[in-house]
Symmetry: C2
Subunit: 251 residues, 2 copies
DNA sequence: CGGAGCTTTGACGGACCTCAATGCGTGTGG
DNA sequence: CCACACGCATTGAGGTCCGTCAAAGCTCCG
């Protein structure tokens, strides 16, 4: 396990590849989102100036750790980032999985420290945005400010989804449907994808025992809802899975 | 139960009392917070211009309803506001209780609609801030922008607190300690306070059965942790209660 | 005084966790 | 190239916390 924290140490490598940063940036989810919200090209140029491309990170590399001073948010460009906390008994608590196009670090603004750890689950590429700089730019670009407010507002709702009064089946269905939709929104297949996280991580995230995850997935397969082999999932009955998930996702 | 939505209809009453809005505003939690974060007096004046004082609302009055177009956030000045959703089976899901000094409506920025209902549990006074106006002002006042970012960031963390699989006792202890601290932060007593919400609401918020809430509170009393009569609580053993709550609150 | 609604109390059952053992896949070294 | 070992996943058996159901008590009203 690599113990190093990526953010504070990657300045050198980041500064090294600014030659092609503009071409890279056209694939950056954050920039794309800004564009789609009506930000003009010249504004986007200013955004590009403060972007730092981080990666590739290997599975197990940490993006930041709980308690680190807050300096930047980051958009996931490729791979999956897991955020988690360690409680006082040393047990891990998974807070979320972050796919390409999603932003991490927003919950660190409040008290200027990252309140959780963030670790790469596979090979991860990031766009790093210095928060002081992007906040300053936001005061000049209304659309950027608006985009940031929306990102933050969105995350408020997401956190409370998996309360324990839903059944194990419902939570698992909601988890899979959520993944499917988020991947589809980024252009990936909605019906075939890989679980980049272990069953243990999924169980932890859903507040269940790993054994329960195993049993529920197996039963889903027996009932023809999906096909699963190792970490490769194929959803066979999206409608029925979605119906189970509505109790959690409220759509 | 009063079915009216307060925000869209109170413009007349709000505009009527702008004569003394400045004196009122000195007690507004939001303004105070801005001041304490280093915003200067002239900036605060500009903030006062766009504040609208709403209230008093009676218990059962709605501040906004799920699906209403988003227009404003609001700081609770007095009383308690409950936010909740209705799932497709018609069951209520309590999202949170908002005490004086706390801001509601932040989760509506994302898709320009309030994603939940907000209802007064007792006599409530609010400060209403038009969001377009405060966002515009924020781009001119860096400290205001920073304050808004922090408010949003804070709510991300709060939402995920009760999502974990802690025991009924731990969640109840965390609920009480949370209330105690938030009230103390506003100058109220940390050891004696009123539960402005019903047991049913508490149970719903903690994702428990009302019967469980009843049993746990009763057991806490038998064990000398607190004294409770109806909705009046006196905490007798803050330390022990806090110890139970750490599993949830992580402090 | 009486009724409605919330709260409390008890008995019971079920969903999921814990514990334990086996199976499977991957990487490593002989 | 195969054997072995380690970690993760699976499967089964048993226990428990808490939700559900039912009934009675309490409070605040009219």
């Amino acid at each position: 396990m690599n113990q190093s924290v990526v953010f504070p140490r990657t300045d050198a490598r980041i500064l090294a590849d600014d030659g092609d940063s503009l071409s890279f940036c056209s694939t950056c989810a954050f920039s794309q989102a800004c564009l789609s919200e009506g930000m003009d090209k010249s504004a986007l140029m200013e955004l590009h100036v403060l972007v730092e491309h981080v990666g590739p990170l290997a599975a197990g590399d940490h993006v930041f750790r709980e308690g680190d001073p807050f300096s930047a948010i980051a958009a996931v460009r490729a791979g999956t980032v897991k955020t988690y906390q360690i409680d006082r008994d040393g047990r891990e608590q998974v807070l979320g999985f972050h796919l390409p196009g999603e932003v991490i670090g927003l919950n660190a603004i409040h008290d200027d420290r990252y309140p959780c750890n963030a670790v790469a689950l596979d090979t991860v590429m990031l766009c790093r945005f210095s928060f002081p700089k992007i906040a300053l730019l936001a005061s000049q670009l209304p659309n950027l400010q608006r985009h940031l407010f929306r990102l933050l507002s969105h995350d408020i709702g997401v956190a409370s989804l998996f309360a324990r009064d839903n059944s194990a089946d419902e939570r698992m269905a909601a988890f899979l449907i959520g993944l499917s939709r988020r991947l589809a929104a980024r252009g990936f297949s909605a019906k075939r994808f890989q679980l980049t996280m272990s069953r243990t991580d999924i169980a932890n995230y859903l507040r269940q025992a790993p054994e329960t995850v195993s049993r529920v997935l197996r039963r889903f397969e027996r009932e023809g809802l999906l096909h699963i082999k190792q970490r490769d999932v194929e959803i066979l009955d999206l409608a029925r899975l979605q119906a189970m998930a509505t109790a959690v996702l409220r759509d």
